[in-house]
């Protein structure tokens, strides 16, 4: 049971069109850019567009659940579906930032050396950082700091994202909390 296999199942869900546009998000997306960080109870948030929607606004996981069951994954945890030993959360796009992140997601290769390439969609570093800023728990802020310390973010691109989504004040507050000089242009 490996995370790689879990991601492969997510790509298969996309290939079957059980999920529409998607991207790996959160701590697992951060793996693509910074050193691995320990999470006690790691999960894989996958931002997903194309949930089945009811007139009431309710979003249904039915199609995903059905496709997963056909693939033999029926176990649920308190945070989502268990796929190859890892809990996976399918999160609906809930903001313009999420929507942009999904549109601009990049393809990464999660295969081991020598294996056939396995491409999966992953949020760009700047969207991982901006999303962490909006969530704002201590572990999210620590993740942002890791991106900065490990030179894993493009400041021009980050500033554009933050400006587009009215997050510059939150960014200034983060810099104050982290006791760092604001690295963005004009600050």
């Amino acid at each position: 049971m490996t995370l790689r296999k879990t991601i492969e199942v997510v790509t298969q869900l996309a290939a079957k069109r059980a999920i529409a546009n998607y991207a790996i998000a959160g701590a697992v997306a951060a793996l693509n850019y910074i050193e691995p960080m320990l999470t006690e109870d790691p999960d894989i948030p996958v931002s997903v567009d194309g949930f089945e929607k009811r007139a009431s606004g309710l979003l249904l996981l039915g199609p995903i659940e059905k496709a997963l069951a056909q693939m033999g994954y029926t176990e649920r945890t308190n945070v989502g579906f268990k796929i190859e030993g890892w809990p996976v959360q399918f999160l609906p796009v809930a903001s313009p930032l999420d929507e942009e992140g999904l549109e601009q997601a990049i393809e990464i290769d999660v295969a081991e050396p020598g294996e056939a390439p396995l491409k999966a969609r992953c949020l760009r570093a700047e969207h991982v950082v901006a999303t962490a800023l909006t969530i704002g728990r201590l572990k999210d802020l620590a993740r942002i700091q890791a991106f900065l310390e490990q030179d894993a973010v493009d400041f021009n691109r980050l500033q554009s994202v933050l400006e587009r989504h009215n997050l510059m004040a939150a960014w200034s507050e983060f810099c104050l909390k982290a006791a760092i000089k604001n690295p963005l242009f004009g600050n």
């Binding site: 490996t2 995370l3 790689r4 793996l31 910074i34 320990l38 006690e40 790691p42 894993a152």
Partner: protein, 66 residues
């Protein structure tokens, strides 16, 4: 306080080496990082299991430490 100032060693070089180590780890491939994350997950598994057991039996006291 005897008026003497304690001389502390300069650890900035150690911290710089650690920071460089983190940048080095960040350059690993996604697959290599997955392997590291899975090893971390295995290491914390007993802690997670114990925490889940505590939550399932909130009245049960942990064993006394000697």
């Amino acid at each position: 306080m005897d008026g003497h100032r304690t001389q502390y060693p300069d650890n900035s070089e150690i911290l710089a080496r650690k920071a460089e180590g983190r940048r080095e780890n960040a350059r690993a491939t996604f697959a290599e990082k997955i392997a590291i994350l899975e090893r971390m997950k295995e290491r914390v598994a007993p802690i997670v299991t114990a925490r889940e057991a505590r939550r399932a039996n909130p009245g049960r006291q942990p064993p006394a430490r000697v």
